[in-house]
Amino acid sequence: MIFFEFAKRNLARHKFRSVLAIIGIVIGVLAITALGILGNSVQLAVSEQLCMIGNELVVYPYGEEAISDDNFEKIEKVAEAIPVQSMGDKATLNGESTFVMVYGMRSEDIPKLLEKEAGQFLKHGSLNCMVGSRLADNYELRVGERAALQSQKPRIVGILAERGVGFDINPDNAIIVSDKMFDSMYNTTGYNSVIVKVEKIEDVEGAKEEIEARLNKKEEVVMVMELKMIVEGIKGLFNTISIFLLGIGAISLVVAGVSILNVMMMSTVERTKEIGVMRAIGTSKREILRMFLFESLILGAIGGVIGAILGFGTGFLVDVLILHEASYLFAPSSILYVFVGIAFGVGTSVLSGLYPAWRASNLKPIEALRYE
């Protein structure tokens, strides 16, 4: 391809200028790719943690009063319900004293909500306890050891798997005991929250309305938090952030496009005489157009590929350093941004080259020849 060769040599003839134009594209594509991957990774990370609990509702007491047994029974009629008691307290673990959350749950409910990493779940009415993964790590707790809570020394029979931040309970830094144990340590009545699980995510809305209808008849007794809504809200927020970040990338590409337009205009003006000669000896308009489009294509392709590689690298660094998880990087939706970035780079470049190329191809041969 002679015109591709022309394009290459003309770019090489003005290396500095070509490199500047390429840098513009690199920055634009880098921004789009990195920001796209980043936004996507954050969204993946968030939805991964949130989707498991999307079919839950959490019922909290409206005022100071806990949720009574009566009201719990009403909730239970709507859907499967898990009553949770909780108390912040000081515990002694491996000789160190620390502040922890203590959750009291019916033994049979624990496996429904939590997973264990080691040991066993609590038996019915057990006087032992389970500890969250973070606590176990921080205090080097092992199954079989004892924790000290109030005047009791429950044996640790199980260690829970890490769960992350939840909207219902946060067990990672907590001690879980049976309802019976909880009652024996703390003199409280009722429940601090009730977690309601519905079969399908679509049922969340109906369950919420029914619980409110049954319990809040006369006055507001409970508040029903719908996790699905929170999940959607957060996803929406991250969507907005992603779009915003992509917008920044797009703006830098526009700037790059203007710089390519500028470089190509300079190049067509400088080469006016040469274009005239080429036209005189039999080069068609279309061939001149092709030669200049190749130039912008080459600039865009080089800039796009370098930008996408750097963008992927940046995405990798951020994923590993901030999200501590590289797997999101290789999700199809993340990889897509590499191609989106390259496509935008090449697209911007070719688009910016279009006008100068068109202008060059439409120069009148005799006038171009007379140009000095």
Binding site: I2, F6, R9, N10, R13, K273, E274, V277, M278, R279, A280, I281, G282, T283, S284, K285, E287, P365, I366, L369
Partner: protein, 226 residues
């Protein structure tokens, strides 16, 4: 057969400060194999005359036929094709393409036309215009003026055109080199090519067999040097 046929050709350039009549009612015919010079003062319309024959410019009025084909009303694409296949241009400033080597400059018209073996043919052309083949690897700015003009002549001959048009081909060369170039053009004409040369230099015109004189866009005389 007449390879160039101009009938009552007029060319008017419209400028902001009025119109310029560069050619005024010019009628001329040139037969295949002729060697012609076009003389006249600066601004008399010599380049315009050549550009119209070369299908670079279109007349405002009159008829133009090149190689028997009427070119009035042909579109840009058709005119481009005629320039590529039937006409060879030689310029005062040589006008080689700076990014291409000498050989590539000669190959270029053949590549445009889709000629096979353009590499071998360009090497033959380089030696036929009296250059060492090794010079062919140089870029134009590494060659002397005379060498560049030889390459330009080889380029003009690449697609074996009907007509060679040369606009002051010796205008940028010293007198010794001018003679060499004119000898080369004379040899080319003797091998059968129709050549039209624009010049102010009577020495150059003396190589040709017929001279057109242009004054204010009119053909004034049409003499034969023998």
């Amino acid at each position: 057969m007449n390879v160039v046929e101009l009938v009552e050709v007029t060319k008017v350039y419209e400028l902001p400060r009025g119109s310029v009549k560069a050619l005024d009612n010019v009628t001329a015919s040139i037969e295949a194999g002729e060697f012609i010079s076009v003389m006249g003062p600066s601004g008399s319309g010599k380049t315009t005359f050549l550009n119209i024959i070369g299908c670079l410019d279109t007349p405002t009025g009159g008829k133009v036929a090149i190689g028997g084909e009427n070119i009035n009303g042909l579109d840009d694409e058709a005119l481009t094709k005629i320039r590529r296949d039937k006409i060879g241009f030689i310029f005062q400033q040589f006008n080689l393409i700076a990014t291409l080597t000498a050989l590539e400059n000669i190959e270029y018209p053949m590549i445009l036309k889709g000629v096979n073996e353009h590499e071998e043919k360009s090497k033959e052309l380089v030696s036929s215009v009296g250059l060492e083949e090794a010079l062919g690897e140089n870029k134009p700015n590494e060659l002397s003026g005379g060498e560049q003009q030889r390459v330009a002549i080889a380029r003009a001959l690449a697609n074996d055109p009907d007509i060679i048009l040369a606009d002051e081909p010796t205008g940028n060369l010293d007198s010794k080199t001018s003679k060499d170039i004119m000898q080369l053009l004379k040899d080319t004409n003797e091998r059968g090519k129709t050549i039209i040369i624009v010049t102010h230099d009577p020495q150059v015109a003396s190589y040709t067999k017929r001279t057109f004189r242009l004054v204010d866009g009119r053909i004034d005389s049409d003499g034969v040097f023998l």
